[in-house]
Amino acid sequence: MTTAKIPILEVQKLTKYFGGLAAVKDVSFEVRAGQIFGFIGPNGAGKTTLFSMIAGAVRPSAGKIRSRGVEITGVSPFRLVKAGIARTHQIVRPFREMTVLENVQVAAHFGRKPVRSPSAAKERAMQVLVSVGLDALADNPASILSVGNQKRLEIARALATTPDLLLCDEICGGLTHSETAAMLQLLRRIRDGGMTVMYVEHDVKAITAVCDRILVLNYGRKLAEGTPDHIQNDPAVIEAYLGTKAAGRS
């Protein structure tokens, strides 16, 4: 069995209750290596909760998560990094009192292929900064970066942990039109370099522009799954986003 056959992420009947409310119910899907796999859904659909469960921030109420056959349900975030899964944050969380380089250096030190010596970690960090285009700002304190660059920093940090699977949480949130286009281009380059990306986004246009495969959530359940074209023409999806009249018209 070649490694391409075992999905890089496999989610089975994942469920999360908050009090009596099911934020996510019985969601199952597979992500294959080398894809950009996207998640969309109206507000309250459960995208963030689903993401948090996979990223280890929230413990599922039921269901299983596997990465390349190994079960990772409920595993804490730092262990997930060692397993090759890294995430970015929707609201950026840079280490404000450190420089951009030091931010990424932390990731290089503690990632899946940890580096002990600070100089080696700095080197790897610099390489990653070059690949996302932040190398010119390396010695600046992270706090002074623009929003767009802080999002790039989030990606740089995650990449420096040498993951196989990158989880992006609304990475285009708050970006201008041109910044969004540049960010999507970056994601494509990351995917083309062999990385798998799992992408949660609010912006339907961005998702359909960049993803190879999309899963639509509604009220915590899987509504549809397929290629961007398939999703855009799915009547159930249209109804969920625009209401019954629009579905009738199509």
Binding site: Y17, G19, G20, S61
Partner: protein, 297 residues
Amino acid sequence: MTLIDFTNLLVSALLLAGIYAVMSVGMTVIYGVMKIVNLAHAGFMMLGAYFALELFQRFRIDPIIAALLAFPVLFFLGAAVHWVLVRRLPRSDEPTLPSLLLMFGLWLVLQNLGYLIWGNTDRSIFTPRTLSVVNLGPISISTVRLAVFIAAVGCLLLLEVILHYTWFGRSVRALIQNRYAALLTGVYEDRTAGIAFGLGIGFAGLAGGLLGSLYSFDPDFGRPFLIRAFVIIVLGGLESISGVAIGALVLALVETFSILFVPAGYQLAISFGLLALALIVLPGGIASLLAKVRRVA
């Protein structure tokens, strides 16, 4: 042990829980509204105790009344401290190191002021009530403990009324639950925070005054009570005022009944052992346990 002895201990624990709850509620309000852990709480309790002592010794005012009077006095003192010092701290949704150290510095200052004004000998408030006992059938209750309990519960009920039936109370609850949203709906943070801080300090003073009727005190006396307040708050789930009541009850029960097994000097260590155990088994406090029970799976 007979049933009567058991009942006596139980009543004792209940009375203790009352004063413990009043002692902790001030810290909870301040933490909930401003995310500041008030280490100076101990210092203000000490001031309350000495305030009651002075009113009692100079003007022959009943110590319980004096403790109640400590509330408004320390309320204004608290509001002033907020205006001068606490307001200058950077705002945060999480407890910060500077706020912790600031309150700690304030506590040191208050302690030293206490030593300068009143010296370091133990003081106590002694009235005919201190030795008298009320008899409910076979159960005997120390009168002063009963009076303290009634005053404490009365004030807690008053706090509940304020929090649920006044505009100010609603603002406080809003800030506790979600600071940002509260600001968006028009709550004046500075003013509400100042009043809430005053309220918290007022309760500290009240608690101190009441405790002064029960125990002897010196300027450092706040510290073991500060630790107990903390145990109670953590047991109760950190931000819940009803949690404080439960936490106070649990601690009071443990402390009262542990006298049967352990010499009195080790009580504080027992309370701390309880806390450590609770943290390992139940990091969210008792409130999280209740939440789990309430949830429909």
